[in-house]
Symmetry: C2
Amino acid sequence: MKENKYDDATFFDKYSQMDRSQKGLEGAGEWHELQKLLPDFHGKRVLDLGCGFGWHCRYAVEQGAASAVGVDISEKMLEGARSRTDSSAVRYVRAAFEDIDFPAGSFDVVISSLAFHYTPDFSRICAKVRECLTAGGDFVFSVEHPVFTACGTQDWVYDGEGKPLHWPVDRYFIEGKRETRFLGEEVVKYHKTLTTYVHTLLTGGFELTGLVEPQPAPELLHTVPGMEEELRRPMMLLVAARKR
Amino acid sequence: MKENKYDDATFFDKYSQMDRSQKGLEGAGEWHELQKLLPDFHGKRVLDLGCGFGWHCRYAVEQGAASAVGVDISEKMLEGARSRTDSSAVRYVRAAFEDIDFPAGSFDVVISSLAFHYTPDFSRICAKVRECLTAGGDFVFSVEHPVFTACGTQDWVYDGEGKPLHWPVDRYFIEGKRETRFLGEEVVKYHKTLTTYVHTLLTGGFELTGLVEPQPAPELLHTVPGMEEELRRPMMLLVAARKR
């Protein structure tokens, strides 16, 4: 992504404290569902767009992938990724994921976790991914859910006592820039409709193989404070597709 | 649908006054998008689940379908359908669409317009449709959007002056019964998540071929009062699938 909030020192420090940064995949609330959508990695060449600290690249190699390439625009994220990686099968490339230019058919699997809501142009992503994927290759990604990104506030509407009343949806069909707050910092994201994600895939040479709005893992539901609110609105959308 | 509000005289009279009842397909705001998802009807055997006044059955035959069967549980709707139909290629059957029992492979196309949010069990529908569809047959349907059905109020949150502030989403992952108001009457609907609609198709022997959240036709946007609000939240979900 060309948006590079992750090289902002304050934001990066806060992000680094999140469970998903400290604990990796097991610290990510959606991992139990994303994992089910991933293909068999054995012998595969894997690309991760917006790889962050490289958790998914290392997971792919642990699961038997022949190689994994992580792409991220944030130098700080890539430093963090390299310091956590000791496999020579994983390499990291600094680039905006909209601008990747790998040879045709370079990869068997392309994954991306919570990155595409930072770009306005999903059809460009689809075209780039399709080009570098081999025929029959898998494309699995997560994004913030359109219900979560539509309004732009990315927050509940509260009653007078600070209790969440409901989640507001507005401007759903007005796609584009949203100035949101994440970890107390201003972050620019790009709202896209569900139609844009799915229809762009279907008309862009992909077959849809999976679509899941993840709910919290049952064991977290009654142990993590506030987790029950996660049943009230969808926060993420997980999508699996295959190149025709 | 076993829900049969349409045989309630007051509700039926109000429904009969709606544009979609008076003007047919052209009076339905989503028709311009649904039409694009429909297959070539030429020579096809068509089934319409929750056929109402039979507009889609007659359209299919006008477009060259060999035959069309409309299923609805409401006797009043079927009377209205029969009185509007003069083609012997169209016939109507009174039944709950959850209970259809046509021979395997009886139809080439199954359509349904705004009916499945009246049933709690979409996997049952998928299984029934798959059974009566021929291999490679098309299944195209519209439903109220999960964003529209989640909360249950089916209404905006307003400010003190009656201006819509935003659309509330709540209880998204709590599927099931919603007691809503439609045309001033109490109507029971069943909320389902997007995941339930799409995942049930993908795992139930269908390929997804289209998914659209319809926006108002451009010519209606600035001419019909209140139509601009329709850009603020998705109201319907249109889905096209093909039997594998």
